[in-house]
Amino acid sequence: MSKRLFVLVSLVIATSMVLAACGGGGAASAKTLKIVSSLPMTGSSLTQTQTIVNAEELRLAQANNQACGGKYALSYEAWDDASAAQGQWDPAVETSNGNKAAADPSIIAYLGTFNSGAAKLSIPILDQAGPLVMISPANTYPGLTKPGYGPGEPDVYYPAGIRNYARVVTADDVQGKVDANFMSSQLGVKSVYILDDQQLYGKGVADVFEATAKSLGMTVLGHDGIDTKAADYKALMTKISTSNNGNPPDAIFVGMVIDSNATQLLKDKVAIMGDNTKVKFMGPDGIQTQAMIDGAGASVAEGIYASVAGLPFDKLTPAGQKFLTDYQAKYGKLTEPYAIYGYETMNVLLAAIESVCASGGDPSNRKAVRDAVFATKNFNGALGTWSFDANGDTSLTDMSIYQAQSGAYVAVGTFH
């Protein structure tokens, strides 16, 4: 090492040590509780996840980033669980996020995930780390919390024998049913072709939809998984266009998220079978995002349906309306449906931290925070008044159906 380089390196090290000492001294006045979120922030879902992160930051700012009357400082980091190579959430990244959170004792809550398949990986890791409580704003696959879906579910996700996972959003056992009922009773659909993206969430909601559709007497003409990175789906759509005894089906239901090439699928559907009045097109909350309409083009997307848990903006309670006003004042117009769920995850977590303090407990203890979150009853939040049940599921069951009209999703009804 040359002399000059040595001097330079020593200077850098010395400076950084001084800075580190200052930093440590400044933060010592209040103990810091760290909260992280793990959401796909590389990929089409970013449209939705950015609003979730905004809403979580908004709730923190409202609490002045502190809890228990200033005894604790709150810090928040938004982690990305997607990778550019996958173009959507990446199992490797989600697992590493889970391990990172488990290993950092200052983290007291993990807000995520967005995709049910990702939750499947991090729940067991965090369950054995305290357990560290996990609150999801968006996972809807029922088997994460309820028995009767996959083999061994849900116990297989909780190796520590204690539940650590709760969600503020209504699961797909409700969504799939509501979608099938809506198609049958409101749209008069008799025959339907089902496609899914072969993911836990997409296939899960498509399966519930299929079972309900059959029980309602609809003809299910087929249920295929698609290749989510294909350049086009013209051959598949050609096949579907004659699947109903030589005619197209009354409707197509797609169980997928926007990242799974949903816009290309819709484009090819419209190219082969015409606009969405003749052959209806419907999907779950994974396609209820402005990116779906922008990506397909407003004229192609015109008339498609998408469902999402909760009430439309204009039907929200006063607390919900206040959230909307606050959000729009800080970040501009909100069209995405998941922001309010992001807000509610932070909301219910902060309430749990306060209740730990109120009962004389220590909110830096993961188990104490977990117990307080699961004890949430009749919580008066932005989504209304609701409770967590023993499984960590919300008591809310409202589902709203939206239709794309002139380039934006418009609510057309709310069902249970």
Binding site: G43, T47, I226, A235, D294, G297
Partner: protein
């Protein structure tokens, strides 16, 4: 027993095992012969429809495969960045279409010149980018063995993808990108249909026959442009001085240099042509399938590379044939088997063909130095 007989016997055995496996696991993957027979019987017209879809998609793949095969033929490099260059073709043409106001017009004359300008720009742009990539990332590594340029190519691929991601955020260039971030699929409007409807024609050229077949103006254009490009390229390689120099360089760099050929110039020209083809393919795919997406080059690149290997790497006729074969297989698998198994079927066929004929269907054409 002679070696040749042994080889034949071994390959026959492999073929039998492969067929056995296909029939054993086939039904799971949608290979259900009675059901397929029933479907064909119920709609024989559909068979032709799948053929049309397959050929059109295959034409685009074939043009991209040419870029892979030309580069491999001349410097034995798998240019991983080529698929992403095609994605840049999609984005650059879309940007020009937006800047010239073509995206929002219904005026047929405006549409025609807008598309023409976009085509020229995409070709020139991608050709230049490809030459620059070769100059910056590959030329210095030409004598560093095979792995160094390969890794450099993977790096270029990621670079182009991530720049594409940034490109897709620039809604001041293309307003229809919207404000939803660069990662989502972007709309590439169906300008050809708009043009034809504007001129008073039906987009489906076979609509008047009433047999329920769709052969649109888009299918026709894609196939015609692909055919013209391929025939032109073949004539160019066979008959021009530069084409001859390319073939000479492919056979042996040293011998070509001794004959007074400027190898660097010839290799640059190869990248120039390959890049131009990728640009043209980008515009065609945008107009045909209607989506611009930063990650779209990966899958198409993989299929195009597979097509090049299937036909015999370095072999131009082989690359074209490989493109059409993969397009058709994908279309028939989507239509008659099961869409989720399409990739598996394509690569199963690739494995089978390469086991039986390792040099590809039409034989490799690379230098003898290896």
């Amino acid at each position: 027993m002679s070696d040749q007989t042994k080889t034949v016997l071994r390959r026959t055995l492999i073929a039998f095992v492969a067929l056995y496996i296909v029939f054993l696991v086939g039904p799971t993957a949608g290979f259900d012969v009675p059901a397929i027979a029933k479907q064909i019987q119920a709609g024989p017209i559909q068979l032709i429809q799948f053929l049309i879809v397959g050929i059109s998609n295959g034409a685009i793949l074939a043009i991209i495969a040419l870029g892979y095969t030309m580069v491999y033929g001349i410097i034995e490099l798998i240019n991983f960045a080529h698929g992403d260059l095609y994605m840049w073709g999609v984005f650059s043409s879309l940007t020009i279409l937006s800047l010239t106001g073509t995206l929002t017009t219904n005026n047929p004359t405006h549409l025609i010149w807008g598309i023409a300008v976009a085509l020229v720009f995409a070709v020139v742009f991608c050709a230049s980018v490809n030459v620059v990539i070769e100059r910056l990332a590959y030329r210095h590594l030409r004598h560093s063995g095979r792995l160094a340029p390969l890794i450099s190519a993977i790096g270029m691929s990621f670079t182009l993808e991530n720049l594409g991601l940034i490109w897709a955020q620039q809604s001041w260039l293309v307003p229809s990108f919207g404000t939803t971030g660069g990662a989502s699929q972007k709309d590439y409007p169906d300008l050809l249909s708009r043009l034809f409807q504007g001129l008073g024609y039906n987009v489906n050229l076979l609509a008047s026959t009433g047999i329920g077949l769709r052969f649109t103006i888009k299918d026709l254009l894609v196939i015609v442009i692909a055919a013209v490009l391929m025939i032109g390229l073949r004539l160019f390689i066979q008959n021009t001085t530069l084409g001859k120099a390319m073939r000479a360089t492919a056979q042996s760099h040293d011998a070509a240099r001794m004959m007074g050929i400027d190898i660097d110039r010839v290799i640059s020209a190869t990248f120039l042509i390959g890049g131009g083809l990728a640009g043209a393919a980008g515009l065609m795919d945008g107009l045909y399938n209607g989506t611009a997406w930063w990650f779209m080059g990966f899958r198409v690149g993989l299929f195009a590379f597979t097509a090049a290997v299937l036909g015999g790497i370095g072999n131009i006729t082989g690359a074209m044939a490989g493109g059409f074969i993969i397009g058709l297989m994908a279309s028939f698998s989507d239509g008659y088997l099961n869409a989720r198994w399409t990739e598996a079927w394509i690569f199963a066929v690739l494995v089978l063909i390469l086991t039986l004929k390792p040099t590809g269907l039409f034989g490799e054409q690379v230098g003898e130095k290896a």
